[in-house]
């Protein structure tokens, strides 16, 4: 078998999966049909597993296929399908390119206690539904967060810059896209994890995959007994050491002619580099560099992220002494999440719904859900936006099933929370002037305007038809936390009544020309 071609094929496949997966999070012009998302993410291990546990649907057996594949050929998943793995390969490749060493990698020992403990903790967390551990360790979710909270803002800023430039020449093929800054904590947390994983892969190749990642450890157990394995043909081996130099998992032992299959990620670098046919894929029983330009790039990237966050924070101060603070008993979880408790147990905070949401109302929570919901999305009606009445995008794309793909008719009567009107904060009461921005936007007219003191109109909420979409809270001209109308989240989503079926209206005045 031509192993150079095999490695080439692996590289092409891995780039394909990487680009397709990444593009889902960077789809700022909403070009992807929501159904395509599931096709692209079908084989992602943990999301598929989480969906399967809930629904046992045929569309969720991606992880079973991965297990089968691993039993056949080893941890091909880690080198071809897992986007975090491929990202780490990029850093590893950079490190190797810039190094003068003839043999870049060395044989290193495994850390079995660490990785099997982490695997055990992950399995226990799955059983008791403590999703925070899974969120932190799932490679897909970590990758998703990097793209959503670090890469996507940079893409948006670039897009907006180019769009402005083109607009000056009356070319409107690109347009500025809204960007809502993620909470500080999320940005810093994401940057830290990103730098950690980047550093680990730059220095030690697939170290993360072989010590921390529970998917890697689990597949490694299966890989130990896979049908096809990378083995030594000891008679041909000249002990030149090129294979060790190319092994990203640092798992080849030339003294004992062994490959540690629990750590081998099937990148086929060793097969391709060996000129003596001493390594075969077979079933029979083998710096510190100071590059300132990169520092500049990283610094610029961080500055762009931090800068857009700083720009977002400019609140003029008003006299709020007489206003009442909004009392929100629960945050608001996305439509299709059924209840906050269920949502917190399943969501791994991958950020795909945040990236895809057309109004950017979904934003990562820091403390809103407590620790168990850290990094999971909530509906941010203050800074984000409000939920588009005709959209069911988040449920359609959620890869773990934390947000279920409910039909649009069901979504339009799902009560995420109840609107609460605070008369003391409302301009109609405080200033005696008309406003009505809340009722304007309400899709069910649960917020209606009734006569008040002379010719004014003031809001009144009918909570029975309110769906908690936030279309009232977001445009209220009073700044948070003193909004005159806000949504108090439901811990368990309720069913709202449909607005009363109204009779077909007719012309208010009989005359053709009443003037």
């Amino acid at each position: 078998m031509n192993y150079k071609k095999l490695k080439q094929t692996r590289v092409i496949l891995s780039l394909l999966f990487f680009i397709l997966t990444t593009s889902l999070f960077l789809d700022i012009y909403e070009k992807y049909a929501n159904e395509t998302v599931h096709e692209i993410l079908f084989l992602q291990f943990i999301p598929s597993l989480l969906q399967f546990i809930q629904t046992f649907a045929i569309g969720t057996i991606g992880f079973i296929i991965v297990i089968g594949l691993t039993a056949f050929i080893g941890r091909i998943y880690c080198s071809t399908i897992c986007p975090l793995g491929i990202l780490q390969d990029v850093f590893a490749w950079l490190a190797k390119k810039r190094s003068q060493a003839r043999f870049f990698y060395k044989k290193k020992k495994a850390y079995p206690i660490l990785r099997y403990s982490l695997l055990a903790i992950t399995i226990i967390s799955l059983i008791i539904s403590f999703s925070t551990i899974i969120s932190l360790l799932d490679p897909y979710s970590n990758f998703g967060r990097f793209v959503t909270y670090l890469f996507r803002p940079v893409v948006v800023v670039l897009n907006n810059g180019i769009a402005m430039l083109l607009n000056k020449f009356e070319v409107y093929s690109l347009n500025p896209v809204k960007l809502v800054a993620a909470p500080w904590f999320m940005l810093i947390f994401s940057i830290l994890i990103f730098l950690t994983i980047a550093f680990m892969s730059y220095k030690r190749g697939r170290l993360f995959c072989n010590t921390v990642c529970p998917v890697g450890t689990f597949l490694g157990l299966i890989s130990k007994v896979s049908f096809l394995k990378i083995r030594f043909d000891e008679d041909n081996c000249t002990k030149c050491g090129k294979c060790i130099g190319a092994c990203k998992s640092e798992c080849i032992d030339l003294k004992l002619y062994t490959v540690d299959h629990s750590r081998c990620v099937d990148c086929f670098n060793c097969l391709a580099v060996c000129n003596d046919s001493a390594l075969k894929l077979t079933s029979k029983p083998p710096k510190a560099n100071t590059n300132t330009s990169r520092r500049n790039a990283i610094t610029t990237g961080i500055a762009l992220l931090v800068g857009q966050k700083l720009l977002a924070e400019s609140n003029p101060s008003n006299d709020t002494s007489k206003l009442l603070v909004n009392k929100k008993e629960h945050p608001v979880s996305p439509p299709g999440s059924i209840s906050i408790k269920r949502f917190n147990e399943i969501c791994t905070g991958c950020g795909l719904c945040v990236a895809v949401c057309p109004t950017q109302v979904l934003q990562p929570a820091v403390g809103q859900y407590g620790l168990k919901g850290f990094m999971q999305p909530h509906m941010d009606y203050v800074d984000g936006g409000y939920c588009n009445f005709d959209c069911r995008g988040c449920g359609q794309i959620c890869p773990t099933g934390a947000i279920l793909p409910i039909e649009i008719e069901e979504k339009q009567i799902t009560q995420l929370g109840k609107a609460v009107f605070v008369k003391e904060n409302c301009v109609v009461y405080t200033d005696g002037t008309d406003c009505g921005a809340c009722s304007e936007h309400c899709p069910t007219k649960a917020v209606n305007m009734i006569p008040y003191e002379g010719k004014l109109l003031i809001p009144e909420v009918d909570q029975s038809i309110c769906i908690g979409c936030g279309a009232c809270e977001h445009p209220c001209p009073i700044d948070a936390p003193y909004k005159a109308i806000y949504v108090n989240g439901n811990a368990v989503h309720q069913a709202a009544e449909k607005p009363k079926e109204e009779e077909q209206t007719s012309a208010p005045v009989e005359e053709d020309f009443p003037f």
Partner: protein, 305 residues
Amino acid sequence: MKRRDFLRTGIGAGLISGALPLFGGLDSINGQPVKTEYDLAAVRGGNGGDMFDRAIEAIGGISKYVKAGQKVVVKPNIGWDAPPERAANTNPEVVARIVKRCKEAGASEVYVFDNTCNKWDRCYRNSGIEDAVKEAGGKMIPGNTESFYKEVEIPNGKSLKKAKVHKMILESDVFINVPVMKHHSSTRISLAMKNLMGVVWDRKFYHSNDLHQCIADFCTFKKPDLNIIDGYNMMTKNGPRGVSVADVTNLKALIASPDIVAADAAATKMFGLQPSEIGHIGIAHEMKLGNMNLEELSISKQKMV
């Protein structure tokens, strides 16, 4: 002698009666005030585009408002992510016909935009206006880009003293305002003056600083050259977004006038309300921005079959 006189008189009378259309048509014979054009035109009974053609004829023809080589900005209501039958936005056929006539009158470019309430690309698309305008040869401009808005002073405003206004309004030669006739939960109706809230960036300011006064104040800064109120479909309740098509009636009406206050006054009456009941109309009339006393104006009324 008598026959010569008779011929002279006869031919003269014939010429004059034949030339009557030039002097105001049948109306002049009926005893109506003789006018070459009206202050306000109202049309009933046709489709949106045709009613516009009839109305614009009565108030001077499109070439009175658009000269060859001029840049025209048409500002419809594209505020909501809703299809045309919901009447939350202006009827696309009306907008398309206006664009078409402007181009025929020699306009160099016709720009169309709105600072939408829902997501702008969905509004532009689902309202049907984007496609209709493109087909008619106009250019859709995004309205939700802050850098397109320039701050201006409004010295005669009582509450609104400054605002960021879309550059198309500031840079174009002709400004045509095309609202849809609909109910509004804040201001009771949303017509020509209310539609101008879509040319400023910060609407929140209006809502928290005397909404009706701000709406009138903007007109002290700039008034449209022409106002076309589209009542082909009218939303009679649950405005400005509407809940369903049950809120909409196929009224088949259109009102046109260069006087924004008069146009609003006439359209208000079609709701069965009095113009003085609507805060910003009364205020604008007091501020002499237009005339809401319709009995003082000459109004053309046309019923199409």
